[in-house]
C-alpha cells in the first residue's frame, strides 16, 4: 500500500511537530478546546462598607488540571462601575501582587486580601492569575475570578484619626498666650 507523496509529507511534519514541541501543542489545545486548568473563587460576592473602611476577602485558586501548576502570579484589581470615578488601585491596597507556590493537580491555595475603600460608589474587585512565561506555566492567559461588588457609602469623617483636638488646640493655645500677654501689658500700662 503506497501513500501519496503529499500525505506522507504531511504525516512527517505532524510527527515532527508533536516530537519537537509537545508543550506548545498541549497549551494550544488546552487553551482552545479544554477548560482552563486554573479556577479562582472569591469568599464573598459583595460587600457594603463606608468610605475609609477596610474589608478582607479570600481568593481560592484551584488547579483543576492533571499537571502541577507553578509560577502563578495572582493580582488584585479594582474598577469603578460609575463613569467618571477615578480609581487608583494602589490606594485601595498596597499589596496587590502575590507570587504563588506551585499547586499540585487537584489542589488549591488561598490568598487573603485586605482592601481599604477610598472612593464612594460601586466598585468591582477581582483577582486575576497568570503564569510566568519563564516557568513554562499554564496558563499564560490570565484566569479571572468573579467580581466582588463593593458598595461604598460616602460618610464624612469630620475627625480623621482624632486630629481635631490638635488642629484646634494648638491655635487656641497660641491665641490664649497672646491674649494673656496683651492683658498683662494692658494692666501694666
Amino acid at each position: 500500500m503506497s501513500f501519496p507523496r503529499s500525505l506522507r509529507l504531511a504525516l512527517i511534519a505532524l510527527l515532527a511537530a508533536a516530537l519537537i514541541a509537545p508543550g506548545a501543542v498541549g497549551v494550544a489545545s488546552a487553551a482552545s478546546t479544554e477548560s482552563p486548568p486554573v479556577g479562582i473563587a472569591l469568599s464573598r460576592p459583595s460587600t457594603s462598607v463606608g468610605i475609609g473602611d477596610s474589608f478582607s476577602f479570600t481568593s481560592t485558586i484551584t488547579n483543576a488540571g492533571s499537571l502541577p501548576v507553578s509560577g502563578l502570579v495572582a493580582h488584585l484589581n479594582v474598577l469603578s462601575f460609575t463613569h467618571g470615578v477615578y480609581v487608583d488601585p494602589e490606594d485601595w491596597s498596597s499589596n496587590r501582587t502575590r507570587y504563588l507556590d506551585p499547586i499540585p493537580p487537584g489542589h488549591s491555595t488561598t490568598v487573603d486580601w485586605t482592601v481599604k475603600a477610598v472612593n464612594g460608589g460601586d466598585f468591582g474587585i477581582y483577582v486575576a492569575a497568570l503564569g510566568t512565561p519563564a516557568a513554562g506555566a499554564v496558563p499564560i492567559e490570565p484566569t479571572v475570578s468573579p467580581a466582588l461588588v463593593a458598595h461604598v457609602t460616602e460618610q464624612r469623617n469630620v475627625n480623621p484619626q482624632g486630629v481635631v483636638p490638635l488642629a484646634l488646640g494648638v491655635p487656641a493655645a497660641v491665641a490664649a498666650a497672646m491674649g494673656a500677654l496683651r492683658l498683662r501689658m494692658r494692666r501694666r500700662s
Binding site: G52, K116, V118, L166, V170, P171
Partner: protein
C-alpha cells in the same frame, strides 16, 4: 563707741556686669516683637495653617492617599518653608523699618557698635523661626507617632530649618540695610523668596535632567527640602545625601558673614547702595 575699720569703710560691692550691647539690642527687639509686635499674631496664623495642613494630611492618610512618612514630610516642609519666609520678612523690616519709623537715628546715636545692632536684630529674627518650629512639633508628633518618624523629622527639620532660617534672616538684614524704604525691602525679599521657592514647584520631569538637578542643588532652599525628604520619607541616614547640604551650609555661612561684617557699614539714615 568706736567704729571699727570695717564699719568705717563700706564693703566694696562688685559692679554689676554690663550686658554686651548685642544682648541688650536682642532683648529689646525680642520684647518689641513678642510682647508688642506681630510675633504672636504671626505664630497664631502659622499654627492655623499647620492645623489645616495636618487635617488634610490626616484625612488623606486615613484614605491611603498619603503614606505616613509623606504626611510627616508635608507638614515639616510647610513648617520649614513658612517659618523661613516669616523669618525673612521679620528680618527685612529690621533696619528699613527703623529708618521708616524715624527711630534709626536714635538707635545709631547709642554707644552700641553697629555690628552689635545687627547681631541683636538677627537673633531676634531667628527667634521667630525657633518659636514657629516649636509650634510645628505637636503636628509632627501627631502625624508620625505610629511609625517612629518623629525623631528623624524633628532632627532634620531643626538642622535644615535653622540653616535656611539663618540664611534668610541674614539676607533680610542685608536687603533691609541696603534699601531706602521698608516697602522696597519687603518687595525685594518676597521676590527673592519666590525665585528661591520656584524650583521646588518644577514638574518632576524638569528636575530629572542635569540642569534641573544642578538648579535644585545650587538653590539652598530646594536642596535643603530635598535632603529633608530623603531623610524623612526614604529613611536615608543623615550622611547618605550630605552633598545636598553643601549649598544650605554655604549660604548660611556666606550670608551671615555678609550680614554681620558688611551690613553694619550700610546702616545709614538714608538707605541705598553702599558708597
Amino acid at each position: 563707741m568706736e567704729a571699727t575699720a570695717e564699719q568705717a569703710t563700706p564693703k566694696a560691692v562688685p559692679a554689676p556686669r554690663a550686658r554686651p550691647a548685642w544682648a541688650v539690642v536682642a532683648l529689646q527687639e525680642l520684647r518689641d516683637l513678642w510682647l508688642y509686635g506681630r510675633g504672636l499674631p504671626l505664630a497664631l496664623g502659622f499654627s492655623a495653617l499647620l492645623s489645616v495642613v495636618t487635617y488634610l494630611a490626616a484625612s488623606n492618610q486615613s484614605l491611603n492617599f498619603l503614606e505616613v512618612h509623606e504626611a510627616v514630610n508635608l507638614a515639616l516642609q510647610v513648617g520649614v518653608a513658612v517659618g523661613a519666609i516669616i523669618t525673612l520678612l521679620t528680618a527685612a523690616d529690621a533696619i528699613s523699618g527703623e529708618r521708616e519709623r524715624g527711630t534709626l537715628e536714635s538707635l545709631l546715636l547709642t554707644p552700641a557698635p553697629r555690628r552689635d545692632l545687627v547681631v541683636g536684630k538677627l537673633l531676634a529674627a531667628l527667634s521667630v523661626w525657633l518659636v514657629l518650629f516649636v509650634i510645628t512639633i505637636p503636628y509632627l508628633w501627631f502625624l508620625g507617632r505610629n511609625v517612629g518618624a518623629v525623631a528623624d523629622a524633628l532632627g532634620a527639620g531643626a538642622t535644615v530649618g535653622t540653616l535656611v532660617a539663618l540664611s534668610l534672616a541674614s539676607l533680610g538684614i542685608i536687603i533691609s540695610a541696603l534699601t531706602s524704604t521698608n516697602r522696597l525691602s519687603l518687595s525685594i525679599s518676597l521676590f527673592v523668596l519666590l525665585a528661591l521657592f520656584a524650583p521646588t514647584q518644577f514638574p518632576t520631569g524638569a528636575q530629572s535632567g542635569w540642569f534641573g538637578d544642578f538648579l535644585l542643588r545650587v538653590n539652598p532652599i530646594s536642596a535643603a527640602l530635598h535632603w529633608m525628604g530623603k531623610v524623612v520619607v526614604d529613611g536615608h541616614s543623615w550622611g547618605h545625601d550630605a552633598d545636598w547640604l553643601i549649598s544650605p551650609i554655604s549660604a548660611g555661612v556666606v550670608l551671615t558673614a555678609i550680614a554681620v561684617l558688611a551690613a553694619p557699614r550700610w546702616m545709614r539714615l538714608r538707605g541705598g547702595s553702599p558708597g
